[in-house]
């Protein structure tokens, strides 16, 4: 844990220079990777550091700073060296992760003897202390997830499939993930190319969350809007289907925060409320410049980086239609099970997604799987073309980090089953 000595050191700085912000961080990351043909490999890293921000002065940072060195960082002096200190007690234990990855691969070998399977466990724990104004804040964030990938071949054809999910203690996650993987890899061996051109798209539960993260969330980051770099400002008067509500709530994230990196408790923000553009995601700086209130979305990916407004968990609120009925009403289209962002232009709202797992829809039922393809979409056109919103809201079935201005952050997304038209398939 970050030493209690930090509290006194931060308070001392704030008393002398109340305009100063102090951010102190300790973080551990654990990655365990294994493949069918090999035993797991582990990578365990620990990093710590602090930064200081003062008006009209550069942000100044130093790795592995100790409380007694904080005055040097604040004054801009060379940080003095300290004597030897004992090694830290690690928070994360690699042994259970190595066992889980090994166990997953054993089970995968049984179910998929012909496939090449890999498993990746990713876990982190971060503790932060923030001194701002006269107050001291503290938070602890943590996350762990497991992803399985498989590649298999049959009659000269190869197919790839992936499944993943956040892990909570007590989950029987290994069996369910391996089962999901084996089902998809077998199906995907018969995949065909989709028909290029405009298409109706049905997103599986949780998946449209990625779509609104890219198209709505990034456009609603207040610094982007203030710079004039968001379609949000140019299309402010437009109305969407009033069934559509998009929310960002960092407290629901797989790596939730109870205060942001400026000491502000996060609150849910309705980015689109019943079809109307709603609030923006604010940091303290963007809020003060626009006369708004901070929303608790100010984050930095490490002590070396400045604060940016960031998404935590972006999701589409539940509708009231049954997902089976939505599918039955589609004559022709694609059912998207997994996708990843390939390109987003927040200024125009144009985005490209790489669809890595999907099925063709014919006459209201799922037909053959489709090979990977690109899906091109423009925010307003696609959002305005939403035809149905299901009642099966789900989260984090397709996980990725959000990278913004070189700052990675673990984020969550969620959505019910969603049907929209006006997307373009490119192959």
């Amino acid at each position: 844990m970050l030493d209690r000595q930090w509290d006194g050191a931060i308070r001392d700085v704030l008393e002398r220079a109340p305009q100063t912000t102090v951010f102190v961080e300790r973080r551990e990351d654990l990655t365990v990777f294994g493949e069918t043909a090999d035993d797991p490999k582990a990578r365990h890293t620990l990093w710590a550091g602090a930064c200081v921000e003062r008006p009209d002065r550069p942000l100044t940072f130093h790795s592995d700073l100790q409380p007694e060195q904080l005055p040097d960082l604040v004054s801009g002096e060379t940080v003095r060296a300290l004597g030897e200190r004992p090694g830290p007690t690690p928070w994360l234990d690699p042994a259970p992760a190595v066992a889980a990855v090994g166990g997953t691969l054993v089970e995968a070998r049984k179910r998929l003897p012909e496939a090449h399977v890999s498993a990746r466990w990713v876990e982190f724990r971060q503790q932060v202390k923030i001194g701002r104004g006269a107050a001291l804040f503290e938070d602890c964030r943590a996350m762990r997830r497991l992803r399985l990938d498989a590649v298999a071949g049959r009659h000269g054809r190869t197919a790839a499939a992936a499944v993943e999910g956040p892990i909570a203690d007590g989950d029987n996650y290994i069996s369910s993930l391996v089962e999901g993987l084996s089902g998809r890899i077998a199906a995907r061996l018969d995949a065909i190319d989709p028909a290029p051109g405009p298409s109706r798209v049905l997103f599986a539960p949780a998946i449209a969350g990625i779509w609104v993260h890219e198209l709505v969330g990034h456009a609603a980051e207040a610094d982007v809007v203030q710079r004039g770099g968001s379609w949000w400002t140019t299309d402010l008067e437009r109305r969407l289907d009033e069934r559509l509500t998009v929310i960002d709530d960092p407290r629901r994230s797989r790596a939730a925060w109870s205060i942001d990196d400026e000491g502000v408790p996060p609150r849910p923000v309705a980015l689109i409320r019943e079809g109307r553009l709603g609030e923006l995601l604010q940091s303290c700086r963007t809020a003060s410049e626009s006369g708004a209130e901070p929303t608790g979305h100010g984050r930095r990916s490490s002590y070396r980086e400045p604060i940016l407004p960031r998404m935590g968990c972006t999701f589409i609120a539940n509708g009231d239609e049954h997902p089976d009925e939505i599918l039955q009403n589609i004559h022709e289209g694609v059912y998207v099970r997994r996708l990843e962002s390939a390109h987003t232009d927040a200024r125009t709202g144009r985005a490209l997604f790489r669809v890595t797992d999907s099925d063709r829809i014919v006459d209201g039922r799922l037909d053959v799987p489709l090979r990977p393809f690109l899906l091109e979409t423009v925010a307003w056109k696609a959002l305005a073309a939403i035809e149905a919103i299901g009642n099966d809201l789900a989260f984090d079935r397709c996980i990725g980090s959000c990278h913004r201005l070189g700052q990675p952050l673990s984020t969550s997304v969620g959505a019910p089953t969603i049907c929209t038209g006006l997307m373009t398939v490119r192959v």
């Binding site: 990351d29 790795s63 090694g87």
Partner: protein, 404 residues
Amino acid sequence: MSGFSESKRASGDPVMTVDDLLEKTSRDHGGGPVEYFHRCSRSVRVEWDRATDRVAARCGTEEGGALRWLDPRRESGGFVAASGDVVASLTACRAIGRGAPETSIGAVPWNPSAEATEDLDTPHGVPRIEELEHWLRENTPETVESAWIEASRSRERWTTGSADQERVRVRIWALWTPKNDPKPMFLAARSWRDWLRQDALATWDERAPGPPREAEWPADAKVVFSPETSASIARALVLALHRPGVEAGAPVGSGWVVRSNGEPPRGLFGALVDDAGYPVSPRILADGRHVVADWGGPGSFRRGSFRDPPASNPVCVEVDPPRIDPPRRSVWVTALALHPAADGWLAELHGREFPDGSSFRPRWARLRPQRLIESCLGGLGSARTSHHGLGTPALVFDAWLFDD
């Protein structure tokens, strides 16, 4: 005996040197070999938002080290990393690593016969914040919305206890984000002096799309990729067709002449040794007739950060095609996006009539790596080094590079 001079004394305790810590770490893991890599980087960055004229700066020190060990039979091992100065990070690595389960080492690079080296760039100093801001304001084109420039000096040290290696580098980076295009442009150089010599505006101008015209891309025109887009496509081709383990002998076009040349002073990332202690030596990857070699193996192991274990990475590649006359009927590619597809890439290309005509409609095309290198005819102009460390001039491809 490690040449690291760091040692620390806690009150009343004996001095703890790096050698002591390495020896203790080895004992922790049964007496096998250990390796320690440390990087200390001091950096300054200035960001400028043209719309608001806001300038923000940041500066600081980041340092940390990574410890790798093998069991005496070299069948298993471990990797841990921690921030801190040499002794603090090594102490922390030891603490984390003591409880770590021994895991498979697979084919990890490990050089048992590394030699001591010193690879120190001539110090030209790191520019001050004021100099960086001045450069941004004086040199950033009007069509740039926001920009940053960063200067850093890094010191990297590597030891196995018996051999020590040291490298010092100054590097400058910048990023220009256009007003009407989400794709930024990176600039990089290995010293402030080199930085001031480069013609960044020329690279920027090569991106200019030209007056818009609703015309289709001419099917029979040769294709000239700008040096910036050439670097993107050449890097993708090198990763695909010269990847470690690839078989030599595949045919290539006369313009596909490629070598991996990591020796200093060449290249943004050139060095005497790689980040696993292996000496770097030049290697021909393609000779304009065939694929000759891959870029992997000893000499290619690099670490993106001290937190990463060494892994093969083609960071010092030069594409040096025979220079040819500018083709009469051709398209100059101003922007390129490559999206992975089953057998290559689905590419979005933006181009204009070469040398300075009006632009065509964006073209979507399937690109297959083998077909691309076979259709590479040659190069135009002088080579430029990308921020990935790949040097190339503008590459010229025959019209049949496209599959559609």
